[in-house]
């Protein structure tokens, strides 16, 4: 009697996932059309800044090559390199160069790789639109953000006309230490990766939180990736940066031409030699570069210039040996 009941329970519990899978599996057939013969899996991990870009590339690529399964994770540039150098992923999205420790780890595990530039990116220092400040020199930015900085109010920043907010305390937002944006900003402004004051609000990997914070506070300041401030529109104001040759606005042209320094940069995908032995990986990388304009603009980044595309193609070719 009772063992029958148990069988019922076990049966229902066991069938549960399969019932639901069956319900969801209706339109599998749709995926099997498509143009090419390529098949296989490509695993990408890495920067949460480059991740959305790789997602767009993966999606467009899979529309043309439905046999290939591309997955994108975002563990951060550093977290991604750890898996990449362990041979667990095929490609790593990176918003900075590979570090010496990571190079050593890759060497230890016999993973050879090339860095392929896939887009341009820029960081922006943003403030509330009500804030009277429009332009900062690199030195002023460093005064505010440097390790052990004594700046607490806007008036503390030397040589900065901050009008009626001079006596107000600055509220600072910055991404977590795992983020490539953090590494890049600290290196570019404070001169050493990881060097930064400690009393700012750490928003982790969630750059959107900085936008929300600055939007609601006249005295707030944050550094965020390019795509976040173009999306945020008028709710926040990007500051111009003066690196010695006058104030430069973070616009598409200024970033591509390299005038917006030091906060403009390239975004990279590191591909391993093992991955590029497979033709679907090579096809994906070539696709990524060829369709740079469409991919970068969809994801809110800045496309490669002609020279950059040529350089990237050479990098891919050097690994595949063609």
């Amino acid at each position: 009697m009772i063992s029958k009941k148990w069988l019922q329970v076990a049966g229902v519990a066991g069938a549960f996932p399969f019932i639901l899978t069956a319900c969801g599996g209706g339109d599998d057939a749709d995926a099997s059309g498509g143009g090419s013969e390529l098949s296989g899996q490509i695993q990408i991990d890495g920067s949460s800044t480059v991740g959305p870009l790789s997602e767009v590339a993966a999606e467009l690529f899979m529309q043309k090559n439905s046999g290939v399964q591309v997955s994108v994770a975002m563990s951060g540039t550093g977290g991604g390199f750890e898996r990449f150098c362990n041979g667990e992923t095929d490609m790593n999205d990176a918003s900075r160069e590979i570090s010496e420790e990571e190079v050593a780890l890759c060497e230890e595990n016999g993973i050879a790789y090339e860095d392929v530039q896939v887009a341009n990116d820029a960081l922006a220092l943003v403030v509330n639109p009500e804030n009277p400040v429009d332009c900062l020199t690199v030195d002023q930015a460093k005064q505010i953000w440097d390790e052990g900085s004594s700046v607490t109010t806007w008036g503390d920043v030397e040589g900065l006309e901050s009008g009626d907010i001079a006596d107000s305390e600055i509220t600072l937002y910055g991404p977590g230490t795992d983020s490539g944006t953090f590494d890049y900003f600290t290196e570019a402004i404070n001169g050493e990766e990881g060097r930064i004051r400690t009393d700012y609000t750490d928003i982790g990997e969630d750059d959107q939180a900085a936008v929300v914070g600055v939007e609601g506070d006249v005295n707030a300041m944050a550094y965020i990736p390019y795509s976040y401030f173009t999306e945020a529109g008028d709710s926040i104001k990007p500051l111009q940066i003066d690196s010695g040759e006058g104030c430069v606005e973070p616009t598409l042209e200024n970033v591509q031409s390299g005038a917006y320094t030091p906060l403009g940069r390239g975004l990279f995908v590191y591909a391993s030699d093992v991955a590029l032995e497979r033709e679907e990986s090579v096809a994906f990388m070539n696709f990524y570069i060829e369709n740079s304009t469409e991919i970068t603009e969809t994801a809110g980044f800045i496309p490669l210039t002609e020279e950059q595309m040529t350089a990237s193609n050479e990098q891919i070719a050097s690994l595949t040996g063609n």
């Binding site: 399964q69 994108v72 969630d206």
Partner: protein, 315 residues
């Protein structure tokens, strides 16, 4: 006890009212301070409940207001998309979540109940090692989920088991996370079965195993299912340990259990919520509603199952 339902409470109430009247007529009504205390305590309790409700209601209202434009079939049937967020959905994440949770249920029910039966029915409570196991299980229930994620990465994904970054690894990791809860709840349920039931069965010549299988477990089943419901509800909402064992944020293909990449609902929602574009944030809110709905369906089923057996036992 259950047979007399209906008559007994009425009689009991009458008796209490009579006794109360008698007491008050002899000693006088309770003092003003006591009556104020009575009202005050009641309102404190109401406040506590109101606060808990407020949190839940505001999450639901907020995600409905935010996610309303995206509550359509695409949300369930379409995969993720970075190009067209306005028609993207959670198909692969829902499937990933179901695989992971299905695996969790298959693992925790036999292992959790087995451990509980051993500890309650077989283990000698006076031995130090059994008491040590007990304390450890209780402590384990309070370990942060991320720690289990690290454990899963080191021992299940890499290391001895070497499963790789697959749904099965996610299942095992979450199972370890919720196992203590299942064991503790099952033990309580087993302990609540009256000793006389066991003694009667043993007295009639049944073996210990027959006694457990035919009398103890059926009686404890509703309590055990409650424990499983709570654990599964916790597991389905976990994102942190799954991020470590390889739940990725973007898979367009349907996952499978033992190979290939997978994603789960909370991870996908987390990813969308952090995007700058407005469409993704609407999608994230819609995803929250979707997750609440999935949770509600799973829990309703389990509660139905529990009530079903509760009624059977009562008869």
């Amino acid at each position: 006890m259950v047979i007399q339902k209906g008559k007994q409470p009425q009689r009991a109430r009458l008796a209490v009212a009579g006794a109360r009247n008698a007491t008050e007529s002899v000693f006088g009504a309770s003092s003003r301070a006591d009556r104020i205390g009575n009202v005050l305590f009641r309102s404190l309790l109401l406040l506590g409940m109101g606060f808990a409700l407020l949190g839940m209601v505001s999450i639901i209202v907020w995600s409905f207001v935010d996610g309303a434009p995206r509550l359509d079939m695409n949300l369930i049937t379409a995969g993720p998309s970075s190009i067209t967020p306005e028609t993207a959905g959670y198909r692969t994440a829902i499937l990933g979540s179901l695989y992971v949770i299905g695996g969790v249920i298959l693992f925790i029910v036999p292992v959790g109940v087995g451990a509980a039966v051993y500890l309650e029915e077989y283990a000698d409570q006076t031995r130090w090692w059994n008491r040590l196991i007990e304390v450890n299980i209780q402590n384990l229930a309070a370990v942060p989920s991320i720690v289990f994620g690290i454990l899963g990465l080191a021992f299940i994904v890499r290391g001895p088991l070497d499963l790789g970054f697959v749904a099965a690894a996610g299942s095992l990791t979450l199972s370890l996370l919720v196992l203590p809860t299942v064991i503790l709840a099952s033990r309580e349920a087993i302990r609540a079965v009256p000793p006389s039931t066991r003694l009667g069965s043993l007295g009639l010549g049944a073996t210990q195993w027959q006694t457990i299988w035919h009398h103890v477990l059926p009686g404890a089943l509703p309590g055990i299912i409650t424990g499983v419901i709570l654990s599964v509800s916790r597991a389905i909402g976990e994102a942190a340990p799954l991020l470590l064992v390889g739940a990725v944020t973007f898979v367009m293909f349907d996952p499978s259990f033992f190979e290939g990449q997978f994603s789960v609902l909370p991870v996908q929602i987390f990813n969308y919520a952090g995007r700058p574009q407005e469409e993704f944030r609407v999608l994230a809110s819609a995803g929250v509603i979707l997750m609440l709905a999935v949770l509600l369906v799973m829990n309703s089923f389990a509660i139905w199952l529990r009530n079903h057996y509760e009624n059977k036992n009562a008869r």
